[in-house]
Amino acid sequence: MKQGAAMGTAEIHTGSAYRSKRELIFKRLKRDKWLYILLTPGLLYFLLFKYVPMWGILLAFKDFQPFLGFMKSEWVGLEHFRTFFQNPDFFMLLRNTLVLSLLNLVFFFPAPIILALLLNEIRLSFYKRTIQTLIYVPHFISMVIVASISYVFLTTQGGAVNEFLYTYTGSKIDFLADPNWFRPMIILQTIWKECGWGTIIFLAALAGVDVEQYEAAVMDGASRWRQIWHITLPAIRSTIVILLILRMGTILDNGFEQIYLMMNALNREVAEVFDTYVYALGITQGAFSYSTAVGLFKSVIGVVLVLGTNWLAKKFGESGLY
């Protein structure tokens, strides 16, 4: 054992010395047996909790009957997909999902970039660090807390915002139930929670910019705005592109928890998205096959979007993800 281990790494490149390939495989398995033993729990985890559910996707093509079980339930082909696409809910879900994603893209996506650029202009490192510490905090707070804080402040029954409005305008706004307020509320929550955290990656990219470029630009008489435009922004361009690709993949993902927590019977028309729909039909109503089909539709579009955007990014000369 001791000897074998000592030879360990040296043996790797001497494969030709073995008589057959099978013997080589056996030798290596034996030599690395502890490594394989260590791998086992992790592999089991991935198989059981990630790959077995992938197999379960077949449910989307079956008519699942609990008393028949997974194997014996009847195949129905694309039946569930057909039902879904013909359902008027489909357009509501697609519209809500896309509108939320688009609003996020327009209002949330640029926010961390702008914030990082502003932070980058701060010379006083103590001040910069303090601000950073403060703006990272909301990221670590759970969505339930964020939603709870929103409820406590926005409720018409003694919520601070409404009390304030009532004192000065004499009327209250039911932010939590009014469908017109749902989208702005979601976007504001997202910005509050994740904007600061989002700056980290851009600040990291900005830290890598060569200081001499700025010095040269100052020599040429470039103003601060010009420096940002011609040096700083191009420096973080590839980071922006990569994050944009990642975002495209999640365009049909609006974050289950947030929507679920902020949704109610009154704003459902603008709030219900694919994930909450899958939950409502699958988990609470037991329509397993149908909701699996909805979920699968969503995942497949997501994967196609990531690969597509990545391909496009490469076409435009960016390095992309893969």
């Binding site: 905090v137 807390i145 009390e163």
Partner: protein
């Protein structure tokens, strides 16, 4: 460091505005929470008198007394603590034991395993098939359902693997020559060298468990096993403030204002995060950078 140079009035105005704007943003990030903390100490009179305040005129601990005297909330805090501690231990065990072999470039089948892990980041079974697997494993309504399905985060695994890979090979070889076994190597050499990374992920995993709402919503129907986040939603959003039990037991108990109780529960739900945040903050910037290194 930078030599004093000529600055135009435009630049000075820019700087002043920049400092002010960022100051406002920094305060805005924590202000809602400060209001909630203030509100949680408020008395009924305070709440009806002023809607928004940062410093209450009279401080009352009634809301907290109330929370800690109800069975339901205390039990849910217990559940959350249990899941956070045990869950984090499980996370670390699974992540480290898998990352370590994967960091060995000579391991047969390494690329296959790596691709298998990466694929799960791109595509998954989805909510319903995963739910059915948990159900078939008899995990529904057990606290294990909050721990096992998230035992490894593929993203964290790859970062830890990359970190192990960067450790100097020479140290490992020297230990082998001295007769150190594979497990000894992991325990005595690799783990001690990885303390900063492990600390980062311990905190990330722990925060994830404390904040977890989704798994409990899906897999736990029994209210006595609800973690604090689910209880919080019940109390704040569905307004089922476990009010009943206390006023029945003690007729002299003065019910604290509803709003204060809600705020106090929010504070309790956030408190552990606020306690670990200073430790977290030291590490995470580095942790995130590690993640952006490809490999």
């Amino acid at each position: 460091m930078v030599k004093k140079q000529y600055r135009s009035t435009g630049e000075i105005t820019f700087d002043i505005f920049n400092y002010i704007i960022l100051g406002i943003i920094g305060i805005a990030a924590i202000l809602p929470f400060l209001f909630v903390v203030a509100g949680s100490f408020a008395t009924e009179a305070e709440i009806t008198k002023r809607a928004v305040f940062l410093i209450p005129t009279t401080i009352s601990f009634d809301a907290y007394k109330f929370i800690f005297s109800t069975d339901t909330i205390v039990r849910s805090i217990g559940v959350s603590l249990y899941v956070t501690v045990i869950g984090t231990i499980v996370n670390l065990f699974f992540t480290v034991t898998m990352a370590y072999p994967m960091a060995k470039r000579y391991l047969m089948g390494r690329n296959l395993i790596l691709n298998m892990v990466i694929f799960t980041m791109l595509f998954g079974g989805g909510m319903i098939p995963t739910y059915l697997v948990i159900r078939d494993l008899q995990l529904l309504d057990t606290l294990n359902a909050l721990i096992l399905p998230g035992a490894i985060s593929a993203f964290n695994l790859i970062i830890v693997k990359n970190f192990f890979q960067e450790l100097p090979v020479e140290m490992e070889e020297a230990a082998r020559i001295d007769g150190c076994s594979e497990l000894g190597l992991l325990w005595k050499i690799v783990l001690p060298l990885s303390k900063p990374v492990l600390a980062t992920f311990t905190l990330f995993y722990a925060v994830g468990h404390w904040n977890n709402f989704f798994s409990a919503l899906l897999y736990i129907n029994d209210p006595s096993k609800w973690p604090l986040q689910v209880m919080l939603r019940q109390i704040v959003m569905l307004s089922q403030s476990a009010a009943g039990d206390l006023s029945l037991m003690d007729p002299n108990f003065v019910q604290p204002p509803e709003q204060s109780i809600k705020m106090a529960v929010i504070v309790v739900g956030t408190l552990p995060i606020m306690c670990v945040y200073p430790f977290l903050q030291k590490h995470f910037a580095k942790g995130v950078m590690l993640g952006s290194v490809k490999g």
